[in-house]
Symmetry: C2
Subunit: 483 residues, 2 copies
């Protein structure tokens, strides 16, 4: 989902009454970011509190490339990383992930090996259907074992767009919450649903109900589900004891628009890019009785902060043996404080841009290659800012492109290099960037090697279902990341 997909954030069809109500009952973060404009690295950052360049969720196969975890990826979340659920366990939390894991699908990367107690969902995106010869269909797990595959046992009708998955994930969430409330155990629920990722789907009840087409149907179903989750917390009497945060893992994928892509509001470009449309996210914190209703924060926030903030809520300290990028947002949420901190916009192994205050400096610009663009792959459809949405990787490290995001949230008007404002801002930003670069010790890149042999041929549990497939011979190769 994108920043502009919520009614409360200006989507003109205004079809998210539950999220809008969550926003009016809680606190909206208008300057909240992901750590990467792509799914896997963003989720790895959320769960580790660290930038992908540190936790290994990036590639060095080529410069500044978006990489993720398709099912032929060899890498995944390293054992050396400490994930939020591992830490929360120490405070007695029961941890469940519902939906897409995306931090590696080989046995050593299994979420239950990284702190989660329960899992219902899939390791990869719901692409398909595949023929189970060249590519296996993606498995759906319950805890340690697979219980079926997408398209086979969990239907997704690409023709009609119908799939019941969000309803299944919703029911899982409600059941888990009920169970935890009954057992009086604190819990961490990571509700990481697949929708609205393409191929976009919605359940029958929501199909055709949006003014926005199938994508809007999916948004409406998510909105409805979140409303049901919040109401469930209230009904169980634990809403004042449960911190809920809503956000997205990257900007709307405009490449799938208009039928399968959403809105990034007034921001430039979308998913895959380090422009605001790729990385600024809708974000709402909700905690009745603690967070004042109708709050609005301009705190610069990041999905990595959910790591540190969650630890803080559980009375835990973040690990001190490593660099943690996430900050504790509680002072911003509960006391309305503004904490000075930068936002770094990475694409693969490159820091493309940095935000300090209202200024954003691009050290590198790139939308995608001319080759891809000429084939119709466009991350900025209808948008073209000369010298900014470049189709070659443009280096600006000696003279960064500087934008003022208050006057120019759409990144259309770079400040003149000659003006005083540019000089003053860049002096400040340069220090921040230098300090940051000094702390960056890149992790071992996990997204470099692909091998068809590691795909989901025979996940644990396949034998009970008669769903084991024969893998091909191992043939590891450098993954190809085109953008």
């Amino acid at each position: 989902m994108g920043w502009g997909d919520l009614g409360a954030f200006g989507e003109p069809s205004k079809e998210t009454p539950n999220l809008d109500q969550m926003a009016s009952e809680g606190m909206v973060f208008l300057d909240f970011y992901t750590a990467n404009p792509l799914c896997s690295p963003s989720r790895a950052a959320l769960l580790t509190g660290r930038l992908p360049i540190r936790n290994g969720f990036y590639t060095t196969n080529a410069h500044a490339r978006n990489a993720y975890t398709p099912q032929d990826i060899v890498g995944g979340i390293p054992d050396s990383e400490l994930l939020l659920p591992e830490l929360l366990k120490k405070a007695g939390y029961v941890n469940k992930i519902i939906g897409k894991w995306h931090l590696g699908h080989r046995p050593q990367f299994h979420p239950l090996k990284h702190g989660f107690d329960e899992w219902f969902g899939s390791p990869n995106c719901h692409f398909g259907p595949f023929d189970n010869r060249a590519l296996p269909n993606i498995p759906v797990y319950r805890d340690w074992e697979m219980i079926g595959r997408y398209y086979e046992d969990f239907k997704i009708d690409l023709k009609t767009g119908e799939a019941n998955l969000t309803q299944i994930y919703l029911q899982e969430a409600l059941d888990f919450i009920s169970k935890q409330q009954a057992s009086q155990q604190p819990f961490f629920l990571y509700w990481a649903i697949d929708a609205t990722h393409a191929p976009v789907y919605a359940s029958k009840h929501f199909l055709g109900t949006s003014r926005r087409g199938l994508y809007g149907d999916a948004v409406r179903e998510i909105d409805d589900s979140i409303g049901k989750i919040l109401k469930h917390l209230q009904k169980l009497g634990i809403s004042e004891n449960t911190f809920v945060f809503f956000t997205s893992d990257n900007g709307a994928a405009l490449i799938s628009a208009p039928k399968q892509g959403g809105s990034n509001g007034c921001f430039l470009c979308g998913k895959q890019t380090t422009f605001e449309g790729g990385m600024r996210e809708p974000a709402i914190a909700w905690w009745p009785g603690h967070i004042p209703a109708g709050g609005v924060s301009h705190q610069l926030g990041n999905v990595m902060d959910l790591f540190t903030t969650s630890l803080s809520l559980a009375g835990l300290q973040p690990p001190s043996d490593r660099q943690i990028d996430g900050i504790d947002l509680l002072p911003a949420i509960l006391q309305g404080k503004l904490i000075d901190r930068p936002i770094f916009y990475y694409r693969g192994n490159e820091m493309m841009a940095v935000r300090v205050g209202l200024y954003k400096a691009h050290y590198w610009t790139w939308s995608n290659s001319w080759e891809e663009y000429s084939k119709g792959i466009d991350f900025c459809p209808g948008q073209n800012v000369s010298g900014v949405t470049t189709h070659t990787q443009e280096e600006h490290t000696t003279l960064p492109l500087l934008f003022h995001l208050g006057r120019d949230p759409g990144e259309k008007y770079p400040l003149s290099f000659a003006c005083d404002e540019y000089q003053r801002a860049m002096e400040q930003i340069s220090v921040v960037v230098q300090q940051h670069k000094e702390t960056v010790v890149p992790g071992v890149p996990q997204l470099n090697v692909c091998d068809k042999a590691v795909m989901n041929w025979s996940p644990p549990g396949c034998e009970k279902l008669g769903k084991c497939l024969k893998p091909p011979k191992s043939d590891p190769k450098k993954c190809f990341w085109p953008h």
Copy 2:
């Protein structure tokens, strides 16, 4: 102001707490339009309930040109037009205009000759300062006579952006409301302030307070003023007896961005164009005790509806001797009904586009000429939709460009001419357009002739102030309208 300038409509700095509160206490119209993407015709349409092509606020000097009332314009609102205040008088209303009149500045066009009882403001935009030789500075009127000129007696500091005008206009509004409440007379207040038109200004108290720069300062001052007006109505105990509607006369002028131009949210282009960014407007209806709080309407609305709706509120019928384009919005506002009606997008003498339901068909496209564009005049900065934001006037009358504004509010993806959806939608739209064209009897065009002799050299009252200037010899010419 543009659709996207309000926090409630998704402006990411969210600096309009009063308008946002007005929205949450009243009803938001998300599909509300002006009748023209330029100031004078839009205001003429509001006050007559009729399209500019009917009331004469257009030009035939060239095809599809935006025209308005600079001070060398010879024309103005014809006597044959019936203005809202003229009609409201019959129901005992006292009518005041505060701010920019813009329907002609020659004596016969004076607002007090067209139904208003009081006026405080100017006949034209606050451009300047002028030298009073080639061009006189724009006068400010109190009722029948001028009381000074902009820049001379009503300071606007173009260097600092400071001007006290919105504060003066606010005080005028509060005083008028108090007076009317005291005398128990019903009133119509048309608070038509100049801000945020370029050159943008704000009073000292607001200067430098916005994250959005000077334009944001101006928005904040307007927002604050509206909050004060609404609170004043409440304090006087007449809020439940006073219908308030907030809207803008055209989309944000992106040509003035980023320092003096606002936001049209996710919509395409801005002022001067018939894309959504030029004509979709922020709109809020407020009437405590009558309009349910938090209402959201997708009723297709138009500034012309304020004519008919206001008459309806006063228990009056619209004139039956002429075509009225505005509809009564009360069923939409009070009962949540959706009235089926089209929106026509005119530019000068041409119907450029039409909206029927969620479909918008462009019969002509044009942003501005290559000649202007090459000089840096850009109504769609950073935006470029191939075949849509054209720099030559493109006729599509035989095969209109069709957009679905629900799936594609940004007008980026024309529907395929071959698809069933296109055929079905265009069948319906063609009938609507044909019916409309049959009713259009163009009024005498008022914006064709310019003459330096008619400028504000010696407005009534100038002699008392020693501010009369000598006009040059009359030399009427065809006005030049470049876009």
